[in-house]
Amino acid sequence: MKEKILAKKDLSEFINKLVKEYDVFAPVKKDEGILFSKIDKVDDMCLSYSNTKNSVKEFLLPQSEALFRFVKKENSNEITDIKKKKRRNLLFGVRPCDGKAIAMLDKVFLENIPDSYYKNKRENILVIGMACNEPDQTCFCTSVDGGPFSTEGLDALFVELKEKYLIIPIAKQCGKLFAHLDTASQEDINYAEKLKKNAGKMLKPVFEIEGIKEKLDGMFESPIWETIYQKCTKCGICTYLCPACHCFDVQDETVGEKGCRVRNWDSCMFPKFTLHASGHNPRPTQRERWRQRIMHKFNYLKENTGLYGCVGCGRCVEHCPVNLDIRKVLKDILESK
């Protein structure tokens, strides 16, 4: 499908149409910051955002998700399925970094043995991106194979021009959303191209990521891990806000007779993450946990999926309470002998 044009004054009508068919989620200004939340109309949205505080992974892998329910009765092990959501979801205004994270999550959750909960959500969601004309200070997508106009993992990408949006349709299922819109002129396309170049210039890579996987192959016992973790308070905010982190725990929660098996986000930063029932822990200190975080993102995932587990969104940089900056860590690793 050719690039389309939507005038800013027509965005309201466009969103109204979407809301009729989908549960639409977009950046919304809240007390806690700008969060991806459900909207009913265009005014609910906040479009002057660099990125949302929460990533969009929660729409595919919720922070807490019921797998099934049960009633704890004498000698019964009957379980009941969770009812599936009827309406489809549409995410509007997803930044390209979060889109790239979805592409990586797809590899983990849809390949080999597919994860049915993820698959069901993935098949019932449309992801519409918003290109980053003005990247933020903590952004570093171009350092990790991404870009402010990247379309990976997105079904369509909006580019904000002066009085209008240029729409780049990517997935076929988006076709009907944009079919009625005017085709973009060459002038509009050229202008978007200019914005893309401009954004790229603002985001010069801070390190050369190429070869980091191979470099880390030989660094498991490196003394570098002794220093990296020292400030870490094990709070886990880096992994919770990360759009690519996806490790989860499975727990049974019961209230009286009623129970539910749930999966919750977990974090490699927590001591219990790998603790055996016997008391043995293969990652006994924060040194091993930090090594795991870096290795998983830049070595193991690269080996197993071909993609990095970091998309350069900068959330961990922005929210770490002790200013542990992953960009500095990666730079140190790449520059180490």
């Binding site: 049960f70 092990n77 009957e78 989860f248 499975v250 098996r261 977990d266 055996h276």
Partner: protein, 281 residues
Amino acid sequence: MNNPYLPIPMIIRSITDEAATKDIKTFELAFLNKEDEKNFSYLPGQFAEISVLGSGEAPVGIASSPTERGILKFTIKWYPKGVVTNALHNMFAGDKIGIRGPFGNSFESKNIKNRSVVVIGGGFAFTTLRSLTTYMIHLNNRSKFKNITVIYGARSPGDLIYKKELEEWDKRDDMKLYVTVDKGDKDWKGREGFVPTVTGEVKPSAENAVAIICGPPIMIKFTIPKLVELGFSPENILNSLEMRMKCGIGKCGRCNIGGKYVCKDGPIFSLAELNDLPKEY
């Protein structure tokens, strides 16, 4: 679509105490649905997630052999801090639980057929080795393996598990069984000595042979040099690993050693494979 997180309903047929310490029990389970039983096909070395509603799940190696039709066995040690093992050790025959699986590779995925197999086990880590031994000596399978040698040791006579089977195996002439304890008691008439020492004395031939070793880390550490001395190459020494796990299908992200997931790339690894992985287990 197939949901890999739904447990298969099972009933506990019997619970057997295996050790004098009363903290190791074998749970014999039967399928509640015929269809599930038909679809559950596994090989020695694989494991399952045992599900107790309200308590959660724990990964346990399957101790029965696929040749034992209609049932599954799991030998489970009670850990004071283990939520699921606590729940299981408070159950009775007739109680209903669930399982997910089978998960992981198997001993057979590591080229053990048409070769001699040396099984070396220590303490309570004999569960999937029981599965393997029972499988290999079955009428239908015995011709697929050459010499079968089993060396099994425990700290004391009371710590030996599967005593009934050990007696039966001892009577067979198509396998060799060496049972040893670190220290016997007044009734013990068998062998005394550590597993590594006994392995050195038994001297199993390394010719066209594979050694499979499961036990406490200290036993494994001292047995491997004996095997190397006997001519076993790292490719022909197999281990089974344990890790904290949740999903069993390579998604939840916690059982990895380097880029390998114990749940789906293991739990059986050759020493050669382990030598290529970081020492984080």
